[in-house]
Symmetry: C2
Subunit: 378 residues, 2 copies
């Protein structure tokens, strides 16, 4: 793509007392410490739903806050909004029309009553599924049930994912949860939709993340450590889970990954760590397999052997993931890139993966109707 | 930009009994009669609010409906969503990554109770303005009051705009209203927010519009009458009307127009007709002036002299505009382009403007926080 990340920003995820505008600005301003606003030609905002903050037209809200006038565009593709906005920004750089583009993801969710939040989020599923009372925990629970049936995966495997992600979040100051949990904690937590329990589910979160993209040629103007986007794949398939041939796989992830690997000239063997979309623990397991980081059905072995932990063969969600870092929907896809860039710049502190040169992000929407996979290198 | 429109589609605007997915598909399929789906590399969807149809993640809904897998992205910028989605599609073509891109605008509004609709639409204004009970009719009414005070514009001038747009819609089979109205009808209609009356306001509408963009070089592969995008400007400013120095002007329109004129190498003198964003009649008047189709304050003279009618010096909204063609918010910016392309292809039937070579579209969001101006030529 010939596009590089040259600056990043990230708010403290969790319950944020500020309004959506001020949360956005916080992440923006951090990124703008590296690239001044007058060098920014266009801005992309990822935001999932105007029903949370009761505000759409965020481009104009941002213009008010930053007091400058830019070409600003909001992009939405359910929980994959961030990945898609990031892709749009990369295309904008590649078009040659813009030198530097700011990309921003934001969601303000905690002020919405939880029952209403569930209804808002359910809009990312099909109307038929909603009409039958399905919610996202129940849809992902079906995927888990079938994965258990076909491959012998167990609730304990999923619990190990939650424990790992909580462990990783302990050292991520921006994470929502700084709470060590045990397998027993997960196993004893209440069922939300069998077999998924409270600790298998990502939380409701406020937060924003931002980054600046430049062309690879000019990327060293702003930083000694530009991180290069070497492959990106975007795939969109049917919204209904019930029409999928196989519940144990998210086809859009496989196809998006294939495009990203092809563009990068790399294979799944070359990936050294990944931030994946663990809205539920089962989603992390399925993505590990669909990204071909192991064979289908073998995700459980990686988990049993600790291979996905920091220090393992292929660390997954070293940031803490959606599960423990938090999941402000529109911010998530951008946060994944910020965390990956931070790792590749060797700025991840106690969570630093040694000698990592290539990292991958996988951001999905709904039950995986949309997927964006991006690959970065130093 | 080196980008051309090669195919179009448009539903019958009004109360459409179909669901949002089927409305989208209707417009898509019309455009796909000219460019087959397997030639389409990416799709952009313009949609304003998931709160109307209770559905977001429209890219995945579309993938289900068309049963093919593409890179599909939703773009939102209030009522300027269509203009911004169109710009994104043009950038995508220019990046060289895609040969043909489908752009689609859609909104399904009529099934939402009207009080709730007003609340959903108000999210495109600032939180402070909403908190004080402002709605869009009241905000545009303030602009009208001030324009009357400064320039001597009257309610009759605005009424003439409504009458003209209803007249034009009579010959547009896709228009919501096919109803001739008189100045007296407008003047006797009820006040919504003084001085704006029912007939000064655009309606609640269901509808979709679609088009296919290709590079200029390849545009003649699909049609004998490709229409070329020769200039486009996108400008975003503060969301609050109350912070604007001057209520009689929409600064984003002026700046977007300036960019579009500059890119096209043309001036406002070269524009032969325009589709502008007449969500309220006063908005049409203000845009005529801010696009520099006349001097500031002289909009009323164009109207008095019939210069904005079909057959006049500079026909405005030959399609019937938002006022009479209808305003399905996410579809509007795409519909404007479709109507302009149809004129330049000389396919506008009884509304055909003779020998028109250059047309302009102006799509705005909120009280004009966002504006997109695009210029097309044969």
């Amino acid at each position: 793509m010939n596009v590089s990340v040259v600056a990043t920003g990230h708010t403290q995820f969790g319950k944020d007392p500020r309004g959506i505008g001020d949360i956005m600005i916080d992440a923006c301003n951090q990124a703008l410490e590296t690239v001044p606003m007058d060098e920014i030609d266009a801005i992309y905002i990822s935001n999932f739903s105007s029903s949370f903050a009761n505000q759409c037209h965020l481009p104009s809200v941002l213009a008010s806050k930053i007091k400058v006038n830019k070409e600003i565009t909001r992009v939405e593709s359910a929980c994959a909004s961030g990945g898609v906005a990031f892709k749009e920004a990369a295309i904008a750089i590649r078009s040659g029309l813009y030198n530097n583009v700011l990309v921003l993801g934001v969601e303000k969710m905690t002020t919405t009553p939880i029952n209403h939040s569930t209804r808002i989020i359910a809009r990312a599923a099909s109307q038929e599924e909603m009409d039958h009372g399905a919610t996202f925990p129940s849809l992902y629970a079906l995927m888990a049930q079938r994965h258990f049936f076909e491959y012998g995966t167990t609730e304990e495997h999923l619990a190990k994912i939650a424990v790992k992600n909580h462990n990783n979040a302990l050292n991520n100051s921006n994470a929502q949860f700084h709470k060590k949990i045990t397998i027993e904690d997960v196993m004893l937590s209440k069922y939300v939709a069998t077999p998924l329990k409270v600790y298998d589910c990502s939380p409701i979160t406020d937060g924003a993340a931002a980054l600046v993209l430049s062309s690879k040629e000019k990327s060293s103007e702003f930083t000694d450590k530009p991180i290069h986007l070497i492959g990106i794949g975007h795939d969109v398939r049917g919204i209904e889970l019930y029409k999928r041939k196989n519940l144990t796989s998210i086809p859009a992830v496989g196809f998006a990954a294939q495009k990203a690997y092809q563009m990068s000239g790399l294979s799944s063997q070359d990936i050294e760590f990944a931030e994946v979309h663990d809205c539920f623990t089962i989603a992390e397991l399925i993505q590990i397999e669909d990204l071909r980081l192991c064979n289908k059905g073998d995700g459980k072995k990686l988990i049993e052997n600790g291979e996905t932990e920091i220090g393992g063969r292929i660390p997954i969600n070293p940031s803490g993931g959606l599960k423990a870092k938090g999941h402000p929907i529109g911010a998530t896809g951008i946060s994944q890139v910020v965390e990956t860039v931070t790792q590749l710049q060797e700025n991840s502190g106690k969570n630093q993966i040694s000698n990592a040169n290539v990292g991958l992000c996988c951001n999905i929407g709904g039950t995986g109707g949309t997927a964006v996979v991006s690959i970065f290198s130093r």
